[in-house]
Every structure is written in structure tokens, then in C-alpha cells.
């Protein structure tokens, strides 16, 4: 079940082959949903689910797909999957579907999905593809959560909506940094994480 190759598919995306830090995929949604922690976590879970299942489906039909229209096939699979999930949520869990509604578009256009389908699922069997989907989804979620942690803490003084910076700090002149909730700071935060990550993983550095 978990031989060396499968382990690599699952664990490499967490750090050494992280989709955001190393493959630089999914940056647009990293900007959009990391203002606070909660949407970042919701988005992360959605991407893990959609990525894993679209990887499996594409992997199952990989031998029938004509290479000239493979991108369209991938797109149709991803879009159909996301819409099915959304419709089921509206019917059975309306609260969650309301929170997710904005993410639907972001998931479909997330470059990580197409990237993994193209690079992995088209050439591998379903089980490794499933693990690769989970791994990359997790790698993406970790970065989202780290970025959102700093942006929500410094930008709004809260975490998951709860006030963590005590009132006396504000009384003594502390101010929330309004810049943190604007998109540019997401890029700068991601860049700082990439910087630290590369400094610690010397094999990733270009000469």
C-alpha cells in the first residue's frame, strides 16, 4: 500500500516538492483566502477533497483520453466534481455551502489541480494518484494556514475570529496593521516563507 514511491507521492509535496513554495502553483487563491484563518482552512479542505478525487478519476480514464483534448477533459472532470459537491451541500448542509460558495470558482481555476492532473494522474495508477492528490492538497493547506495565521493576527488582531491581542495593547497605542489584510502582503508573506524554506533546504537553491 505504502511503498517507497507512494510515500514520496504523499509526503514530498509537504515540503521538498510543495505546490506553493516550490512549484509556485495556486498563488492566486493564496492571495484571496488568507485574510483570516477560517476561510483558509475551509479552502484547504475543499482543495484536498477535489484534488484527490479528480486525480483518481483522471487516472482511471487516463488510457482512453486523446492527448490533444486532455486539458478539456481534465477541466470537465474538475468542474463537474466541484458542482456536484456544491449541489449536494446546498441540499444537505446549507450553512457550509454558503461558506463555500465563493470558493467554487477558485477551486476550478486552481492551477494546482490542473498541474497535478497533467503531471501525475495522467501517467500513474489510481492509488498513487489519490495519495499525490492528498499530499499536494495538504502541502497547499499548510502554506495557506501559515500565511493566514500571520495575516489575521497582525491585520485584525484575531485568530479564527477570536480576539487574541488584548485590549490594553490597543489602549497603549497598538494598531492593527491594515496593510496585512491587503493582497500584496500575502505575496510578501509567501515570499518570506519561500526564503526560509530555501535557506533550510539547500538542495532547492539554484546556483
Amino acid at each position: 500500500m505504502l511503498n517507497k514511491k507512494n510515500k514520496e507521492a504523499l509526503f514530498n509535496p509537504l515540503s521538498k516538492d510543495n505546490p506553493v513554495l516550490v512549484q509556485i502553483l495556486g498563488i492566486c487563491s493564496t492571495l484571496a483566502v488568507t485574510v483570516s484563518l477560517e476561510p483558509a482552512i475551509v479552502m484547504g479542505i475543499s482543495v484536498i477533497a477535489v484534488l484527490a478525487f479528480s486525480n483518481v478519476i483522471i487516472s482511471l480514464i487516463r488510457n482512453t483520453i486523446p492527448s490533444t483534448i486532455r486539458i478539456i477533459v481534465q477541466l470537465v472532470v474538475v468542474a463537474a466534481l466541484v458542482i456536484i459537491v456544491q449541489q449536494i451541500l446546498i441540499a444537505y448542509n446549507y450553512e457550509v455551502s454558503k461558506q463555500l460558495s465563493v470558493f467554487i470558482g477558485l477551486i476550478i481555476t486552481n492551477c494546482i489541480l490542473m498541474g497535478r492532473l497533467e503531471a501525475f494522474a495522467l501517467n500513474n495508477r489510481p492509488w498513487p494518484s489519490f495519495l499525490d492528490g492528498i499530499g499536494n492538497g495538504l502541502g497547499y493547506t499548510i502554506i495557506l494556514v501559515i500565511v493566514a495565521f500571520f495575516r489575521e493576527l497582525l491585520g485584525s488582531g484575531t485568530l479564527l475570529g477570536y480576539q487574541v491581542i488584548p485590549q490594553w495593547c490597543y489602549d497603549h497605542g497598538y494598531e492593527n496593521n491594515g496593510l496585512m489584510i491587503l493582497p500584496p502582503m500575502a505575496l510578501i508573506t509567501v515570499a518570506c516563507i519561500i526564503w526560509v524554506h530555501r535557506a533550510r533546504n539547500t538542495e532547492l537553491q539554484e546556483n
Binding site: A32, V33, T34, V35, S36, E38, P39, T64, I65, P66, S67, T68, I69, I72, V73, V76, A80, I83, I84, Q87, I88, I90, A91, Y92, Y94, K98, S101, V102, F103, G105, E152, G178, I181, L182
Partner: protein, 240 residues
């Protein structure tokens, strides 16, 4: 078989589209009744939330709604009541209603009686945010002037920015704001923190980082509430 031949590609994509379309249609048709119930309940809970009534579970929403919303009204631009049949206001599609010609519009109002016997009027509002529609419900006291509560929703505003119009911190600002200043309809403005409106109207703070959505809320309030001016005036003349 040659997978890259034209006929294979055309047949493959045709089958794929038909298959996916059929699956989606099937799922949609099967889930539609359940979804409609959820959406109607969500609307009801938004109206209740504008009245500061919390409902513990989804199952209780219809009963609670029936208890507090005592009458649906449709009024015209002169403030005359046109219709007061059950659910006549609830069934109004605000999106279509807003597009109608001014003179054809029938304005929905929900008349509510709270536990303490006070009467509130809930006005639905509908407008545009940054990415998609935004809407809400504004509860006005029976003096036709003071806002009792407000609830806003959106379809696709940015989470953490524009989407914060749904949070209590933003909505509660509207409480006790007055629509009229010195007997003149002024509305409630949404202003950047630290600024004040030039026309002397009451105002609330916009959400930082969500300028367009905040402006959208301001514009929505202006456009939708103004149509009720004669209706509010009538309420005022009754209470005076």
C-alpha cells in the same frame, strides 16, 4: 485504435459531455426540492436575524417565522398597500423586482410583531457588491425612522474582506440609526472610517480593505430604502 484520430476525439468529447451533463441534470433534479426548502429557510432566518431573533435549529425556522412575521405587504411608490395576502412579499424575487420600471414596482414589506408587542417593518434590499449580488433585510421601527436591525448576505464577496458584511460587528452598527434628519429622508451612509457624510445623514463605518463592497452596501441602502419614503412618511404621520 488511433486515439488521436478526428472521429475518436469527436466521439470521445461528445460522450463525455452528454454523460457529465446527464449526471449533473440528474443530481440537480433530485436535489432541487430539498435545496428550495433550504433556500427558503435561509431567507426566513435572515429576516429573523434582522429582528435579532436567534433560531436554535433549522427545523424551528418555519414555526418561528410564522410566529413573528404577522403580515406580508406589497406597497406602491405612494406608500399605499396593494396586497396583503399570505407570503405575497416573501415570494417577491428581488432581483427581478429591482429591474422593473419604477412605476410597475410593488415593494415588499414584512410586518412583524415581537414578543413585547412592538411592531417592526422589515424591508428587503438588493444591490451589487464587488463580485456578485449582495442583499439584506433592514428592520425599521413603527415610527418609520429608526432602524431596529439589519442583516446582509452576499453571493461571492471576498472571504475576510467584503464577506464581512455578514458579520455582526458590521451589521450591528446600523442599529438605532435614523433614516430621516429634520423630517427629510437622508438614509444611512457607509463611510470610510474617520470620514463623515456631507449631507448630515447618519452613517456607519465601512470595512477596511473592502471599499467596493462597502460602497455597494451604501448604494443598495440608498436605492432600495428611498423607494419606501412615502411608506415611512405614512408610518410617521400615524405615530405622531
Amino acid at each position: 485504435m488511433n486515439k488521436n484520430s478526428n472521429s475518436y476525439q469527436i466521439i470521445y468529447s461528445a460522450i463525455m459531455v452528454v454523460l457529465v451533463g446527464a449526471v449533473l441534470a440528474l443530481i440537480y433534479m433530485n436535489l432541487k426540492p430539498k435545496q428550495d426548502v433550504n433556500i427558503a429557510n435561509d431567507t426566513r432566518s435572515q429576516i429573523l436575524s434582522a429582528l435579532h431573533i436567534a433560531v436554535a435549529s433549522d427545523d424551528e425556522i418555519p414555526a418561528t417565522y410564522e410566529k413573528y412575521i404577522t403580515q406580508d405587504l406589497l406597497v406602491d411608490l405612494e406608500g399605499n398597500v396593494l396586497d396583503s395576502a399570505k407570503n405575497c412579499a416573501f415570494d417577491v424575487d428581488m432581483k427581478k423586482n429591482m429591474k422593473l420600471d419604477e412605476n410597475e414596482r410593488q415593494l415588499p414589506v414584512f410586518k412583524c410583531t415581537l414578543d413585547d408587542g412592538s411592531v417592526k417593518f422589515v424591508i428587503p434590499v438588493y444591490g451589487a457588491g464587488l463580485w456578485g449580488p449582495i442583499w439584506g433585510y433592514v428592520a425599521v421601527n413603527d415610527d418609520g425612522n429608526t432602524i431596529y436591525g439589519a442583516d446582509f448576505s452576499h453571493e461571492s464577496e471576498t472571504p475576510g474582506l467584503g464577506a464581512r458584511i455578514t458579520e455582526d460587528a458590521f451589521q450591528d452598527q446600523f442599529v438605532a440609526k435614523e433614516l430621516y434628519q429634520d423630517g427629510e429622508f437622508k438614509n444611512v451612509s457607509v463611510m470610510k472610517k474617520g470620514q463623515t457624510p456631507t449631507d448630515g445623514s447618519d452613517y456607519v463605518d465601512a470595512i477596511s480593505g473592502a471599499t467596493i463592497t462597502s460602497r455597494g452596501v451604501g448604494a443598495m441602502m440608498k436605492q432600495c430604502m428611498a423607494a419606501y419614503d412615502p411608506f415611512f412618511k405614512k408610518l410617521q404621520s400615524v405615530t405622531e
